[in-house]
């Protein structure tokens, strides 16, 4: 998919520049864009490393586990065929907790373990079960306490209050999650 998008962007730009006469600007854009992207990465590097370090302390201090214990009762009713004390349930709540803390690198392995456990409940089929759909939809919505990446980017571009968007982010993602889960649950039917 990205192959076509990338190619499309370049080809459309070229054609458009020829018609609009912006060819000079286009060649400047190519050179500057490459340098600009590295500048951006350098500007972001410090803050991103700082947050990753802080969140790692949170994780090792047991934030993820504690959160997972709190979340587990909330998550259970969403998964119909998952035993509440099963490993699947444990991985699911660890995955959601890590996502909430913005620990994407930790969340993905938990998530993969979770779907593997869910698959064991229905090993023969290559069709997604209702529980799998609920779980994956949960992961395509991003419920995150501290969206550090966006905050860092905002700061790099001179925002006065980079994290002032937090309440908006929380409300938007909760609404998105609610809509996604409702549709998933509704179409799951009896599954």
């Amino acid at each position: 998919m990205m192959n076509y998008i990338f190619a499309g962007m370049i080809i459309i730009s070229l054609i458009c520049a020829v018609f609009t006469g912006n060819t000079n600007a286009l060649s400047t854009a190519v050179i500057n864009g490459a340098g600009e992207s590295i500048n951006l990465l350098v500007t972001m590097a410090g803050a991103l490393a700082l947050w990753s370090g802080v969140m790692e302390i949170a994780d090792k201090g047991g934030f993820t586990k504690a959160l997972s214990a709190v979340l587990s009762p909330v998550l259970r009713p969403l998964f119909k065929n998952v035993n509440k004390n099963s490993r699947a349930m444990k991985y699911i709540s660890m995955n959601v907790s890590a996502n909430l803390l913005g620990l994407g690198n930790a969340a993905t392995p938990f998530g993969i373990s979770a779907v593997k456990e869910l698959k064991k409940l229905n090993p023969e089929s290559n069709k997604a079960t209702g529980d799998m759909i609920v779980f994956v939809v949960m992961n395509t919505a991003s419920l995150q306490i501290m969206p550090t990446m966006v905050g860092t980017l905002r700061q790099s571009y001179g925002s006065v209050k980079p994290f002032s968007i937090l309440p908006c982010v929380w409300i938007s993602s909760i609404c998105a999650l609610a809509v996604g889960l409702s549709i998933a649950k509704l179409l799951n039917g009896k599954d």
Binding site: N22, L48, V54, I57, N126, M132, I133, P147, L153, N188
Partner: protein
Amino acid sequence: MADLFMPAFIAVVVIFGLIKKVPIFDTFTYGAREGFRTLYSLAPTLVGLIVAVNMLKASGASDLICSAVSPLAESLGFPKEIVPMILLRPISGGGATALLTGIYKDYGPDSFAGLTASVLAGSTETTFYAIAVYFGSVGIKKIRHTLLAALAADFTAAVMAVITVKIFMR
């Protein structure tokens, strides 16, 4: 109050870690290294896509696209500048980041477009990637209504980004 949020958050985490006897500095440096690794893996995507986004802008193509979609966007209350980002967000995280930085550069991170784009970026995930990773890891081919539900969630996030920014940030 809001100024204290970040330092206070860090202090709480550090104190919590001390109480739990976590070797906090070693853990911090380990995590920070992971941060650099994330950045390192993001770099090639970002170089390619920021160049491509810059080309779209310089050639005038992005203006054409924006004005083509603006009637629809405006009828939904979206600032037209964020429409390309809404479309690209579920497909490519790096692409959305490239567009986001473009919006920050042109309009500023605290402009209406900048704020809505920020909220959108913070409240959505790379949907197609998540679906591919999780279903791919267990060989699920028939994903049924997963994509529909996930994209409905993404659309909701976009609508709510505009609404919440209008309510809380003005």
